[in-house]
Assembly symmetry: C2
DNA sequence: TCAATCATTTTTGTATACAAGAATGATTTT
DNA sequence: AAAATCATTCTTGTATACAAAAATGATTGA
């Protein structure tokens, strides 16, 4: 992975001599993986016991997570893994699509020769991952592909934003089926994106990427739509979260 | 002002029973206004004395500011008002331009009749503010104009991102001259933007807004360019920060 | 039996105490 | 006299103690 997945760690010189930072990362991972399901109350003393520290660094980590938007702090009532409603998720996908589009537009204009090679290689890696049949491997390869584009935009701030939002959407993207031929279509879109970028067609690259991401959002939308009005809705979301492969 | 200027306060029910939150806001304001100049070390005990609290809420506020990107925490060495380098500022303006463009594109498609009225009114308010000759008033009116567009995008998450970045760029936008006819040109651009949005021309609105913001960035760029290779560079930035009127 | 009120307990928010790394300054050595 | 090393002081990072608000549960009243 080229970038780490937090805003700060990209901009700061990495010497994490603060326990709170490690704790934040640990909690972040637990939230992303679903180990701490959405809506979970994050009890300070229990977390402190679990990690073998006092409440102080736990609180500091929770504040960081709250500021980053991953948890919600209700005054005097504690911190909860943030419940992101469907409407808000759609909004976030919309912004993600736009960030990706911008990355693509800039990348088409600014990508270096070396980065072009990396981009092509990461595309091929996606194809290989698909034929290997390993969902996790495809997920990784796909992420690398997108991060390559972020980097090729030569706008570090933009890349940070894109990575940050991407990681926030990660748990929800995993819900995202299943739809068996999606991966193949996705790969075809990747090919178009690569072609647009390497040939310097900025707007084409932007449009391809926007559609590529928006379709995910729409698919996600379809997915939750089929779930609506189901009594055990939450249960099904949970189990899907664990078993579903990464289709992007 | 429609929105408050923090990410969190838009999404949370506002009952700020945490001192740390008030402190964060106070420090945020001090940073934005330049009362705490860039690079200043934020001594925890001194801040605690100044605000009449213990170090604990101060620390929590500083962590929030660090996560939001306004201050930089060097481990074991304290927090500093973040020095944002020129290259990074340009990157941030580039992203800002894109966020605004997206707001405009969506607003053109989704704006309600009532919001159309508000948008027109806020445009007129900008004109009035200009003729009044009061820079602060124009600054406010201009901000309201842009926030109206954010809101009209009907994407709350996008609006939050736009507001957040806007406020982070605020202190640097103030540096931004001076160039005497800029305001008049800016108003003309506003008119074009309004026209594009109310007539539903999504791409036109996006392009206008992108240019509108990018030009600020370029102006900013010009400004710092004239400053380059000057021995008392920092000094001049400081004084300009205080005296310069708001031209956007 | 159900609801409302009050006491108890739990948990967050803040203050203080302590530990450890960094900055500062003096002393010593070359 | 200059530089390096060591002791002191200062500041951050963490733990603990305390205050106050909210959750919980029991008791009382209708």
């Amino acid at each position: 992975m080229i970038f780490s997945h937090t805003y700060k760690s990209m901009t700061k010189t990495d010497r994490p001599l603060r326990r709170a930072d490690k704790l934040r990362q640990a909690l972040e991972d637990d939230i992303a993986t679903g180990a701490l399901p959405i809506g979970t109350r994050l009890d300070e003393v229990k977390l402190a016991q679990r990690f073998g520290v006092s409440r102080t660094p736990i609180r500091e980590a929770l504040i960081e997570l709250a500021t980053a938007g991953l948890v919600e702090q209700k005054p005097r009532r504690g911190a909860f893994v943030r419940e992101i409603g469907i409407p808000r998720l759609i909004e976030m996908f919309e912004v993600m699509a736009d960030l990706e589009a911008t990355c693509g537009r800039l990348a088409a204009r600014r990508i270096s020769l070396a980065e072009t090679q990396i981009l092509k290689a990461s595309h091929i890696a996606c194809e290989d991952a698909l034929t290997s049949g390993d969902p996790d491997r495809y997920y990784q390869a796909n992420q690398h592909f997108h991060e390559t584009i972020y980097q090729a935009s030569h706008n570090g701030f933009l890349a940070e934003q894109a990575i940050g939002l991407h990681s926030r959407l990660a748990p929800y993207r995993r819900l995202q089926l299943r739809a068996r031929n999606r991966v193949a279509v996705s790969l075809h879109e990747h090919a178009e994106i690569v072609a647009a970028i390497v040939s310097g067609q900025a707007e084409a690259a932007a449009d391809c990427l926007r559609q590529h991401v928006l379709i995910q959002g729409e698919r996600f939308n379809d997915f939750v739509a089929t779930l609506a009005a189901t009594s055990t809705q939450q249960e099904r979301e949970r189990s899907s979260l664990k078993s579903a492969s990464a289709a992007e």
